[in-house]
């Protein structure tokens, strides 16, 4: 392997990591509070989950395409890629936050209320600790998927390891394809393992 290629791999891997981490941070910042809100406002569930569901069903390449003509969110470049990746990551996090909290034993919630916990105490001391594993599992699924989907970001100038893959496809160059695919797969594996470990560490019992 030439040192130029090695240098490129390192650079694009970093770019890929930045793309994924930013997207996941934004997605979590939206989806976890939204999921909590949905447990308090049941009538919103259909609408919000429906929206997140639809976002998941749009083929990823098409979603990137749709975003290009949009003002603010769209255009060519990293920020458009991040918007698309966030939209993809919302559903698993949202759904798992909702499920995790709704699955807290009703008897436990009932006694928390009857003991005189405030809404905030119920959330922070009972619901979130008991739901944390499920929420993190959602985050893990979303992260692993995003690492793969982020390779498509290169199609709209988002950079990352996808650059190798598209270049490799265009020039029928297996080495380039592998230079993109292998690091992406390794990142996905590492993220999966890492988040699994965190999940285990944070589980309440």
């Amino acid at each position: 392997m030439s040192s130029a290629l090695a240098h490129d791999i390192l650079e694009l891997t970093l770019e890929h990591l930045v793309l994924v981490s930013l997207s996941m941070a934004i997605a979590a910042a939206i989806a976890i509070p939204a999921g909590i809100l949905l447990t308090r406002r049941a009538f919103l569930q259909r609408w919000v989950l429906g929206f997140a569901n639809i976002m998941q069903t749009v083929p990823s390449l098409a979603l990137f395409g749709f975003l290009i003509p949009l003002p603010f969110l769209g255009g060519i470049g990293k920020h458009t890629a991040i918007v698309a990746l966030v939209l993809y990551a919302l559903l698993p996090i949202l759904r798992n936050t909702l499920t995790g909290i709704m699955n807290v034993d009703p008897a436990v919630r009932e006694s928390a209320v009857a003991m005189g916990m405030t809404g905030r105490q119920l959330l922070w001391e009972v619901e979130l600790p008991l739901a944390i594993r499920t929420i993190l599992a959602g985050l893990r699924i979303a992260t692993v998927t995003t690492i793969g989907t982020a390779t498509i970001a290169a199609a709209i100038g988002g950079g990352g390891l996808g650059v190798f893959i598209f270049r490799g496809l265009a020039s029928v160059d297996t080495t380039l394809l592998l230079a993109g695919a292998v690091p992406a797969a390794l990142i996905a594996l590492a993220a999966d393992r890492g988040l699994e470990w965190v999940e285990h560490k944070l589980s309440p019992v």
Binding site: V108, E110, G116
Partner: protein, 268 residues
């Protein structure tokens, strides 16, 4: 009871002058959940120091009545007065911390140790951790769970009976004047149930507590209740002492009589 001047002063400060009002008073309470009427025109008092048992079949509205006491449900008509103040006027968080609550299968927090479960309300109330620890140890000892052995365990490491004991200790933690118990011994095997019922009687003798207990078990009602109220289809069809209960000619009360063994029936 000796005249407690401090209590009177405290009540005066808080603007409460009725010294002898019942601890809990249901005044023509109706409950409607969604489109369904659960309770109709329910009126009764729970006097300080007594254990009133609400007896009824499933769906009779007894749990609904219980949940009206700590303001988990509010009446759709009428009023529930606690210490003379309607639940709609209470700060519900304050009210609930003054009421111990025990439910079937305990409802312990699975991610808290036994000690943390018992010490919860004192902690919410901002007690010093030293006081919480002392209180927790005292209560665990009182319900027959040596704190050194059980304090650091998690609820899933306990038997059903032990969990229920922790549930009772937790309800007593902040020394509330009133206890609400919803089928507290319902999920236990018969032997453990009798043990815990006996322990409840012993505890009550030692502590000056008022209790409102809900059950479908007529033997439990007769064993634990100083008075028994019978709920049927959302109405209070009987309220009286044990001897009156055994003599009653009310149809629903007689339906409960038939569940009793000979030993009890002879006394009718």
């Amino acid at each position: 009871m000796p005249f407690d001047e401090r209590l009177l002063r405290k009540r005066e400060r808080e603007g409460r002058f009725e010294l002898m009002s019942p601890l809990v008073s249901f005044q023509q309470v109706s409950a409607r959940i969604g489109q369904k009427d659960i309770l109709y025109d329910l009126s009764f008092d729970v006097e300080a120091g007594e254990t009133l048992v609400l007896l009824g079949r499933s769906g009779s509205g007894k749990t609904t009545a219980l949940k009206m006491v700590n303001g988990v449900l509010l009446p759709s008509a009428g009023a529930v007065l606690i210490e003379g103040i309607p639940t709609t006027a209470w700060n519900l968080i304050r009210l609930r911390r003054r009421i111990g609550y025990v439910i079937q299968d305990a409802g312990l927090f699975p991610h808290f140790t036994v000690a943390a479960n018992v010490g919860l309300v004192p902690r919410l109330e901002g007690w010093q951790s030293r006081d919480i620890e002392a209180r927790t140890q005292h209560l665990l000892t009182q319900v027959g769970l040596p704190p050194a052995q059980f304090g650091t365990r998690y609820p899933r490491e306990l038997s059903g009976g032990q969990r229920q004991r922790v549930g009772v200790a937790r309800a007593l933690a902040a020394d509330p004047p009133l206890l609400l118990l919803d089928e507290p011994f319902g999920a236990l095997d018969p032997v453990t149930r009798v043990e815990l019922q006996q322990q409840f009687l012993d505890l009550r003798k030692g502590l000056d507590k008022t209790a409102l207990l809900v059950t479908h078990d007529v033997r439990e009602a007769l064993l634990l209740g100083t008075r028994i109220g019978v709920l049927h289809d959302g109405r209070l069809v009987f309220l009286g002492e044990r001897s009156e209960f055994l003599k009653s000619r009310n149809k629903e009360v007689q339906a409960f009589h038939t569940c009793l063994e000979e030993k009890w029936r002879e006394t009718i």
